[in-house]
């Protein structure tokens, strides 16, 4: 039982973080984020940047799927739109990278609205299939609109330009990506304390009821698509600056499944879930790599088996979580919290 938590003002009652413990955890987490680049070696910094990118995109998908209830298998394609926009802008103009990334997000948001139009007629699985269709059409555009996208060869990306210095090392990119991601995650957390966010949740819980309550369904569904693909576009832009090349093979349908899997594993409809899920799913392949390296002296062609093992683990994680822990890792965290809240009393 948590005691001494009575709120005396409305402001305290609607605060995002309500207890000292939450503030303490957040402070610790912020400290870790700041200290990390000075402690980690290059390989772990590379992973940290990748995690930041994936967290941003997964949070976006969580807004659309977890909070608005519109299942999308197009997140990878939206990221690709952002990545291509950034690549094109970096080649044709010398604009600073923040502007480029913002532009990537806006273009992706526009494409997201277009892709969201079928949600006018269909929802649920049908919408998921419509987004598969949209991402295949986008893939086709990337491959064949050669004058802009570079066709099958793709585009090279010039290093991110931040007030004259170009960001090339993982150390520099970490300082660029992590603040952007933190900003976007905080934005998402706050979104659901506003009228728009509440409307999204109402649509998820029962769209017909939401319409009866006076929420214009189409407008809010399209808005959700726009916000979600804005996140994806920004994440894609960061991705472009990170890998410095974008091609039609960079974002396949597997990437879209990856993000959906990340929020399922993490916990749909929970900001924490998006963060934890994306982090977990990004790190699992690396853990498997360590495992395979450990096994390599004993197994003859362990290296060749890594990719299939990753594919199997990826699918198995999705299945296991859906069967045994449908609320995801966020629910496990909640359970641990509850245990400590009730600790001396519940036996």
């Amino acid at each position: 039982m948590r005691i001494a938590t009575a709120n005396e003002t409305y402001l305290a009652d609607e605060a995002l973080l309500r207890t000292r413990t939450q503030w303490a955890w957040l402070g610790l987490f912020a400290l870790v984020l700041v200290a990390a680049p000075f402690v980690l070696n290059n390989y772990w910094l590379y992973l940290a940047c990748l995690v930041a990118i994936n967290v941003a995109s997964a949070t976006g998908l969580n807004i659309l799927t977890g909070y608005t209830g519109l299942v999308s298998l197009g997140q990878g394609a939206f990221m690709a739109v952002g990545a291509y926009t950034v690549a094109w802008l970096s080649q044709k103009t010398g604009m600073p990278f923040l502007v480029n990334i913002l532009a990537g997000g806006l273009v992706a948001a526009f494409v997201g609205i277009l892709v969201g139009i079928p949600s006018l007629r269909v929802k649920g699985l049908y919408l998921a299939i419509a987004t598969i269709g949209a991402s295949i059409i986008l893939q086709f555009v990337f491959l064949n609109w050669s004058s802009v996208t570079g066709g099958a060869r793709g585009l090279a990306v010039r290093p991110a330009n931040f007030f004259g210095t170009s960001l090339t090392t993982y150390f520099q990119l970490y300082w660029a990506f992590v603040p952007i991601t933190v900003l976007m995650v905080v934005g998402a957390a706050n979104l659901f304390r506003t009228r728009i966010g509440r409307a999204f949740i109402a649509i998820r819980d029962r769209d017909i009821s939401a319409e009866v309550l006076g929420i214009p369904l189409l407008r809010y569904k399209l808005m959700s698509f726009a916000v979600s693909s804005f996140y994806a576009g920004v994440a894609g832009g960061m991705w472009a600056y990170f890998f410095r090349a974008v091609g039609p093979e960079s974002f396949t349908i597997v990437e879209s499944i990856f993000f959906l899997a990340a929020i399922i594993v993490g916990g749909m409809g929970s900001i924490l879930g998006g963060i934890v899920g994306a982090t977990f799913m990004t790190l699992v392949p690396e853990i498997l790599r360590f495992g395979v390296e450990l096994a390599s002296p004993y197994v003859s062609n362990a290296g060749a088996l890594l990719s299939p093992i990753r594919t199997i683990a990826f699918g198995a994680l999705i299945m296991l979580f859906l069967v045994f822990e449908p609320q995801g890792i966020a629910e496990i965290i909640q359970r641990v919290r509850r245990f400590f809240h009730l600790w001396p009393f519940k036996t």
């Binding site: 269909v122 419509a130 269709g133 899997a261 088996l305 699918g315 859906l322």
Partner: protein, 293 residues
């Protein structure tokens, strides 16, 4: 005149691959009708069918005619295991969760195939002969002709079974109203299992036919994406729809692939899909679902 002949040949080839699409779509429809699950893993079970056949016929050098039923039974076995092990536990969960389980299952199956057989494409041992077939002046590849005949036969059998066989009627009853079917004494869980077994076996059979035409590889599940379009266009719960839409999509793919270029094949079908979802979300022959509060 030869242009017209060429057009006919292209169309015939399109109908041939369309029949295969129909067969794969049938697997989707069967499973959806009984259990309301869109099983995206059908494409991977199709691939498993091809690999089972490969393992039995090439690996253990069995006669193709022994390997064929065994491989199909292998597909059915996967269906049974998945239904009892995973899908049954997910009863009552949201449709999206079950859909994602099948996506995960697909990933596991692809990983297993890569683990056991590697990523290189393989060719299936020949069991059909290669002499081309001529209809009048029209040339068709023998394998496509065989695929067409087999697929049409199987679909015809299924249509008859749904109409007259006890199990087929039970399946239709379950599809209409599970509770009513159950109180009439129909073994509804049994129907679920049967639908998965038969559906997955059909997919495995389609995989062997597809593998005989184009070889097998871990990425051949992409064929299932076209089949998914077929199911949506035809209507998720309509066998007739699977047949008609399969032939239609097969024709469109063949025409687009020949006259516009190979890269237009997939994109043209998916444009049809989007248009269909916008205009008639429940497909040509599907049941319109009415939603009430």
């Amino acid at each position: 005149m030869s242009d017209f002949l060429f057009f006919l040949e292209v169309s015939l080839a399109g109908l041939g691959s369309g029949a295969l699409l129909s067969l794969t779509a049938l697997a989707f429809v069967l499973i959806y009708k009984a259990t309301r699950v869109i099983n995206l893993a059908v494409s991977e079970i199709l691939m498993m069918g091809g690999y089972f056949f490969f393992a039995l016929a090439a690996g253990m050098s069995l006669s193709p005619w022994v390997a064929l039923p065994l491989a199909i039974a292998g597909g059915g076995l996967i269906g049974a295991i998945v239904e009892r092990g995973v899908i049954r536990r997910m009863l009552g969960e949201s449709a999206i969760s079950v859909f994602m389980v099948t996506v995960g299952l697909g990933s596991v199956l692809v990983g297993l195939v890569e683990f056991v057989w590697g990523t290189n494409p393989r060719t299936l041992p020949d069991f059909t002969g290669t002499a081309p077939v001529f209809i009048g002046q029209l040339y068709i590849s023998r394998k496509i002709a065989i695929a067409f005949v087999v697929a049409s036969l199987v679909i015809a059998i299924f249509l008859l079974l749904f109409r007259y066989w006890r199990g087929g009627v039970a399946l239709r009853a379950t599809a209409t109203d599970q509770a009513a079917a159950y109180s009439c004494g129909i073994n509804v869980p049994g129907v679920f299992s049967a639908a998965w077994i038969i559906g997955c076996a059909t997919a495995a059979g389609a995989g062997i036919l597809l593998g005989a035409i184009g070889g097998i590889s871990p990425v051949m599940g992409a064929f299932g994406l076209s089949a998914l379009v077929v199911v949506i266009v035809g209507g998720l719960d309509s066998v007739m729809g699977a047949l008609v839409a399969g032939l239609l999509i097969g024709l469109v793919e063949a025409w687009a692939g020949t006259y516009l270029g190979g890269e237009y094949k997939l994109v043209s079908t998916f444009i049809i899909l989007i248009v269909m979802l916008m205009v008639r979300p429940y497909g040509l022959f599907g049941t319109t679902e009415i939603e009430r509060l």
